[in-house]
């Protein structure tokens, strides 16, 4: 049986009190297996980002459990959460979140410094990662001297450095043009397939979502639908067509609802 990397049980995140309560996430349960590439889609306000923020320990859920490799991170104290951030979970953001006053290499090395990894070991890993992502020539550049695609690849290398159990990606292609977005998704897909990385990605872009092996559709804080790609038989464009169908059912047109 495949190992459950993430196991979310009855997760709730409510804002406000009494009559003014807003249920951003309202009892979501799902799991992510090792080596899976799971996408989360849904209209604005459906709770995608809140769900991801709960999983990434940026906000505390109101109720429920989040098991990462068998440990309930929702119950962690702040110190323990800090240890998990960046080491057990890698992040990719729409706006890259690179430190603009550090070079590419320094940005990638930052989690290693924070979590106390030996420099020799981190150098070895960087060598491998930068080769895989094709970013060696930009390592000494500052973010302001890089293109959007380059920035996201530096961010990807940073996310992968400590060999996290799962990569959480929040609209990673959101700030990229079509060509660079496709390029990045190819690389994420390769990471998933060739290096067996587990990825959980929030996106509104069906193009990007078509790279996933499974997609959860959220509506009003609950899971509304789930799509699983038929690995053996289904092409990426067929999967894209099915995604587009669900989106149409969700609200009558992709451009309108997502």
């Amino acid at each position: 049986m495949e190992k459950k990397i993430l196991d979310i049980r009855s997760l709730k995140k409510y804002y406000g009190k009494g009559e003014n309560i807003t249920k951003a996430v309202d009892g979501i349960s799902f799991y992510v297996l090792e080596g899976e590439f799971v996408g989360i889609m849904g209209p604005s306000g459906s709770g995608k980002t809140t769900l991801l923020n709960c999983i990434s320990s940026m906000i505390r859920p109101t109720e429920g459990e989040i098991f990462l490799e068998g440990e309930n991170i929702a119950a962690f104290n702040e110190k323990k959460q800090m240890e998990y951030r960046g080491s057990k979970m890698g992040y990719l953001f729409q706006d890259f979140k690179l430190l603009d006053n550090l070079t590419g290499l320094e940005n990638i090395m930052m989690p290693a410094a924070i979590h106390g990894m030996k420099e020799k070991e981190s150098r070895k890993r960087i060598e491998k990662l930068t080769g895989f992502l094709g970013i060696r020539r930009i390592l000494n550049k500052y973010p302001s001297q890089m293109s959007g695609g380059e920035k996201q690849r530096i961010a990807a290398a940073r996310a992968l450095l400590l060999d996290p159990a799962v990569i959480l990606a929040d609209e990673p292609t959101g700030a990229l043009d079509t060509k660079n977005a496709r390029h990045l998704m190819d690389e994420l897909s390769a990471l998933n397939k060739e290096m067996n990385r587990t990825i959980l990605m929030v996106t509104h872009n069906p193009d990007a979502a078509a790279y996933c092996s499974r997609i959860l559709f959220l509506k009003d804080g609950t899971i509304f639908h789930e799509l699983r790609r038929r690995e053996e038989t289904e092409t990426q464009s067929d999967f894209y067509a099915r995604i587009a169908d669900v989106m149409a059912q969700l609200g009558g047109g992709a451009s309108n609802v997502l």
Binding site: N53, M58, R85, G86, L102, M110, P111, A113, G116
Partner: protein, 694 residues
């Protein structure tokens, strides 16, 4: 509603921005103390005897007031920039909600005025208290006593302080508002500015540092050698050289220190290094200015405190507290009678008479040929010319040039002086004289030169008669007032004095204060009381204190002014540096959020910020300390005319001042760290809120 908002925001600003609020209070206090100088006991006292000089000092106050206001402008400006930067998001929201810019700025202005009023309300009582304390302490130190102290409150000083403050605030606020008004609304919502990292050439940086060190070295060489003090032109050139040197060094200091910062092994070492490099390379101009301000403050404080320190030495040995000059035809015993009549006699000891008169020689034209005496002192000149040491030879030969017509002083009078000073009387045979040199005109090493030649049994000739010259040189002050001095004289036995000077002699009656009174009330107070009794007596007299008063005045003026300037400079330098640091931290708080996301805890972020604060303060401070090692000797060369021991004392005071200033800086750094930690805690703990904004 409007006023509620004003009050609430005002309170929040004071709480979040305590460091500037305290700076503002210190400035208010310094302003009041300075403006109410007139009411200080020591100034009131000096006014009674040195009214002209005090008046001149008080006339200088408006100029200092203007200069202080100008400096204060920067304090207000920097804290204003910080305030607006900190609140720009909130201001942007007001604008987005449709608040007119004019109304928004009215709101800010009202808040600012409210805070200024609070600063005044806290600052003025503190200032009044400090002013009284300074007044009492100074009185005590100078020996004025604190019995006659009256509580004083200067409404004029309060009004001037308030007007100055309000004026500066309005002025700075107007310019800041103008700048803000021109911004697009989007600016208010931009979190961090675009960073363009420039790679600088290391070689070029080294060249700049070397050039800076050379320029600075040249400036100090000019200042310490004394050439800089030759004239305004030379001084300006030295100052420009020095400032240019400091600026050149600071323009490359990030490269110079980068090597040290890079070695930082903390968890966020590389981040700390980059933050520091970025901040220092961007703010090098203000860091250079801050360093110069620190230096100026160091020097002012060291000078002011050692000047104040020398106040304690006002009771030095002297021969008379009062000297009465007897009118030519005043009847004998009149002095005693008047003293008893005015009641001053009770304060005084027995008077003793000192007589002196010019020896009229051929060199002085006179109507009465009978009084002309022949005076030859060739043996003295020859002996001086035969001295081996060149400095001694030229010095003494020069001094002897003016011996053509010396003053004669009677022996019994001079012995009276010696007795009053607690010294052994001088003995002279009837064919002997002694050399007298006024204490203020004697140069270093002169007495030993005299003693060398006088050991040879020399003599002088007066009216054809030879007098042996005693081997001792006398140089005790003859009268109470130090400014009436006789530089060249001969002490002669009384009968010789009578025969040579006779009717031309001037009599001075010296008198000391009762020891009990001095012990009880202090020297200054005793003289002050006696002075008051003697004011209307019609007697012609001088008091020791009058000459002391003159010196005291210079010292008080120098120490008050320099300490005042130092305090203002320190407050401004610290505010500038704190504001810049905090602004940079705020602008780059997004980076801390990213680090927190990557797992850096609050502790690690605080540790990095602490290290940044330390370096950011240390760079200008250390530069100023290194500069002051040369700066203080330069100041000594140019401004200090005192004795060598005083110079050492001044230098030691300088070192103590630097140590004290480090403590002050430590307190400031702590305050900045605390303020920044609160901000970091907000950034890290409220990830929820932060995340929504990201």
């Amino acid at each position: 509603m409007f006023f509620d908002l004003v009050r609430k925001n005002g309170r929040r600003t004071r709480k979040e921005n305590g460091i500037f609020f305290v700076s503002l209070i210190i400035s208010v206090a310094a302003f009041y103390i300075f403006l109410s100088l007139e009411n200080q006991d020591v100034i009131i006292f000096l006014k009674t005897m040195e009214s002209d000089a005090v008046q001149k000092l008080l006339m200088l106050l408006p100029a200092f007031y203007m200069v202080s206001l100008f400096l204060l402008f920067f304090l207000v400006w920097f804290s204003g920039v910080y305030q607006l930067e900190r609140r720009k998001y909130e201001l942007g929201v007001y604008l987005m909600l449709g608040m007119k810019r004019s109304r928004l700025f009215l709101l800010l202005l009202a808040e600012d005025l409210w805070n200024s009023l609070t600063a005044l309300a806290v600052g003025i009582p503190v200032a009044v208290f400090l002013s009284e304390m300074i007044s009492l302490i100074t009185s005590k130190i100078v020996g004025l006593g604190i019995i006659g102290h009256h509580f004083s409150f200067s409404l004029q000083a309060v009004v001037l302080t308030a007007i100055g403050f309000a004026g500066m605030k309005l002025c700075a606020f107007g310019i800041l508002s103008g700048r803000m008004a021109r911004r697009e609304i989007l600016y208010y919502f931009q979190d961090s500015e675009e960073v363009e990292e420039k790679r600088r050439s290391t070689v070029f940086a080294i060249i700049r540092i070397l050039a800076g060190v050379l320029l600075l070295g040249a400036a100090y060489a000019l200042a310490i050698s004394g050439r800089a003090w030759a004239g305004l032109g030379m001084m300006s050139r030295t100052v420009i050289l020095g400032i240019a040197g400091v600026f050149l060094i600071f323009s490359a200091i990030d490269t110079a220190l980068g090597g040290i910062w890079r070695r930082n092994r903390g968890r966020l070492g590389i981040f700390t290094f980059r933050q520091l490099t970025e901040q220092v390379s961007r703010q090098w101009k203000s860091l250079a200015v801050t360093s110069l301000l620190f230096l100026a403050a160091f020097c002012c404080l060291a000078y002011g405190i050692s000047a104040a320190h020398s106040l304690g030495g006002s009771g030095t040995a002297h021969s008379a507290d009062f000297t009465f000059r007897e009118g030519e035809d005043s009847p004998e015993g009149e002095l005693e009678q008047t003293l008893t009549k005015t009641g001053a006699g009770e304060n005084l000891q027995e008077p003793y008479e000192v007589r002196m008169g010019l020896l009229y020689t051929q060199s002085i034209p006179t109507d009465d040929p009978d009084t002309v005496r022949e005076f030859y002192y060739d043996q003295l000149t020859e002996a001086a010319e035969s001295l081996e040491d060149e400095t001694e030879r030229t010095g003494l030969t020069q001094a002897l040039r003016y011996y053509d017509d010396p003053y004669l002083i009677n022996l019994s009078g001079y012995n009276g002086i010696r007795k009053a000073m607690g010294e052994e009387p001088v003995e002279l045979a009837s064919d002997m004289v002694m050399i007298y040199r006024g204490p203020q005109t004697v140069y270093e090493g002169e007495i030993s030169a005299w003693e060398k030649i006088l050991a040879r049994d020399l003599s002088v000739e007066i009216d054809g008669k030879n007098y042996r010259v005693g081997s001792q040189v006398c140089n005790d002050p003859l009268v109470a007032d130090r400014l009436i001095t006789i530089s060249e004289g001969l002490i002669v036995p009384d009968e010789v004095f009578d025969s040579l000077v006779g009717d031309h002699a001037t009599s001075y009656w010296n008198v000391m204060l009762n020891k009990d009174l001095v012990e009880k009330d202090g020297m200054m107070q005793a003289v002050y009381q006696t002075n008051r009794l003697l004011q209307d007596s019609g007697l012609d007299y001088e008091s020791y204190l009058q000459s002391m008063g003159r010196q005291l005045f210079y010292i008080v003026a120098a120490s008050y002014l320099t300490i005042y300037i130092a305090v203002i400079l320190l407050v401004i330098a610290n505010t500038v540096i704190s504001v810049q640091f905090l602004m940079h931290q705020r602008k780059t708080s997004g980076r801390c959020r990213i680090l927190a996301l990557l797992g850096a805890g609050y502790d690690a972020l605080c540790e990095s910020a602490r290290s940044q604060v330390r370096w950011y303060f240390l760079v200008p401070l250390a530069a100023a300390v290194v500069n002051s090692i040369f700066g203080l000797p330069s100041l000594l060369t140019g401004l200090w005319s005192g004795a060598a021991e005083d110079r050492t004392a001044l230098f030691l005071t300088g070192m103590v001042v630097i140590a004290v200033l480090f403590v002050i800086e430590y307190v400031y750094m702590k305050a900045v760290v605390r303020l920044n930690n609160t901000h970091l805690l907000h950034t890290v703990r409220q990830m929820e809120e932060a995340q929504e904004r990201l």
